[in-house]
Symmetry: C2
Subunit: 237 residues, 2 copies
DNA sequence: GAGGCCCGGTGACCCACATCACAAGCACCC
DNA sequence: GGGTGCTTGTGATGTGGGTCACCGGGCCTC
């Protein structure tokens, strides 16, 4: 007996093993119990749209498992990916807290488990539980920071190679002191282009160049950085 | 008897008249009293640097009066302005809440009054006062939103005129239903360029073009929008 | 096996804008 | 007055990369 998307649904937050310290739901017992009572657990297939920019905020989605693509789209249909949310993050919190429409679109990139909490419930919850509210503020701070990062990348770098180099370094920064860091990621060139704000063709060309110069190789979904030093030289003068 | 920068310092938050509802310090009485006890009031001349990106977070600055320029600078010295903070905003909250270094630089653009609160005091304060914590979350949400706005502007628009048009509309959106909205702002072309991520010369040229086509005129520090419709056509296709 | 569909790879073209360089306007202050 | 320092205005030049166009390869479905 399995759930539809190849993993068991964890229904009870109190005994959940997915959680670690950086998760939003890493909360003291009483707060966690309250959270558990409010939430609606569900799993989604890849490609499901949780909310769309412009919608009035219904509430938050706590991401337990899987990756979710957060993006924004221009009137002409050009898309910019803001980030790939990891488990532990809360989606739609800005809109829910501030009461303004979702300003980004959230779409699952793979099968996911999510906990939904209605806006009113969530606001009440934050008001009652100071720990949770502080945690929420911390998560919002992190979101701001990553947004500022991206603004820097988009606004201060002159060239596409520079932005791509920065992105590759960011991805490999998780696996720290390895000689040739490898990272698994399932993104098309198109999607990479949408992250660094360039065109698909440019990504292809720059990656080809990196491969030729033995700097980094993206083969299938595996990224291998061969020469970190050169990447670092590319990003900062 | 005046203060050094041409305005009276308001020392007591409880009787402060600068505040309105959107201010962070628009708090219930007990929280406000606690805030008043923690804070250090000071006034600064134009051009004072409150904190620099990379510094460990000392605490927050509540902006009571004046404008503060928030920016980030690349290794090569290129600067990008993230926003011009208005009275009521809290500066340095992300870094203070998350405990990571300030990721932006804050510099007063004119004489300002600010209330400084030490990091530990501020965190304690948030923990004790749920209202304040919620308010903090709301302000962080707004910061996120404006950051996302800027990401959209930088990443999704193809041309400098488009970005400038968006900026002008944003500035005049405050004064709503006027035929020819006028806004006072003291920014050089250089600074405008740093907001929309382009070069000073391009701003000069585009503004000259706007003037010639009777779309908008920037004379001295007064911006007058002559033809809002054209601007709107420029931003969204 | 044939036909779609999406992804990756590559060449050709061209234009928006960064960059450089210099001049003119304006303020402020010895 | 005539420095010294900013800001604005404008021409000349070069180029990064967006866009279009096309092709091959992998994968799925019928």
């Amino acid at each position: 007996m399995g759930s539809p998307y190849g993993f068991e649904l964890v229904e009870n937050c109190l005994i959940c093993k997915l959680r670690n310290d950086s998760f939003f739901c890493s909360l003291p017992k009483t707060a966690l119990e309250a959270f558990d009572k409010m939430k609606y657990t569900a799993s989604y297939p890849a490609g499901a749209v949780l909310f769309v920019e412009g919608q009035a905020p219904r509430g938050i989605y706590m991401l337990c498992k899987g990756r979710v693509k957060l993006s924004t789209t221009s009137a002409e249909g050009k898309t910019l990916i803001l980030k790939i949310a990891q488990p532990g993050e809360v989606l739609g919190m800005h809109a829910t807290v501030s009461g303004t429409p979702y300003e980004i679109t959230a779409e699952t990139g793979q099968p996911c488990q999510l906990n939904f909490v209605k806006r009113d419930d969530f606001l009440n919850f934050l008001q009652k539980h100071g720990d949770a509210c502080l945690k929420a503020a911390q998560h919002l701070s992190k979101d701001c920071q990553s947004a500022y990062q991206q603004i820097r990348s988009l606004g201060l770098s002159h060239s596409a190679p520079e932005r791509l180099a920065r992105l590759l370094l960011e991805w490999t920064s998780a696996s720290p002191e390895q000689v040739e860091p490898r990272v698994k990621l399932a993104l098309t060139h198109e999607e990479i282009a949408q992250i660094i704000g360039t065109s698909r063709e440019t990504v292809t060309r720059v990656l080809a160049d990196f491969r030729k110069r033995q700097i980094a190789v993206l083969k299938g979904s595996t990224l291998t950085v061969r020469n970190k030093a050169v990447l670092e030289k590319l990003v900062g003068a």
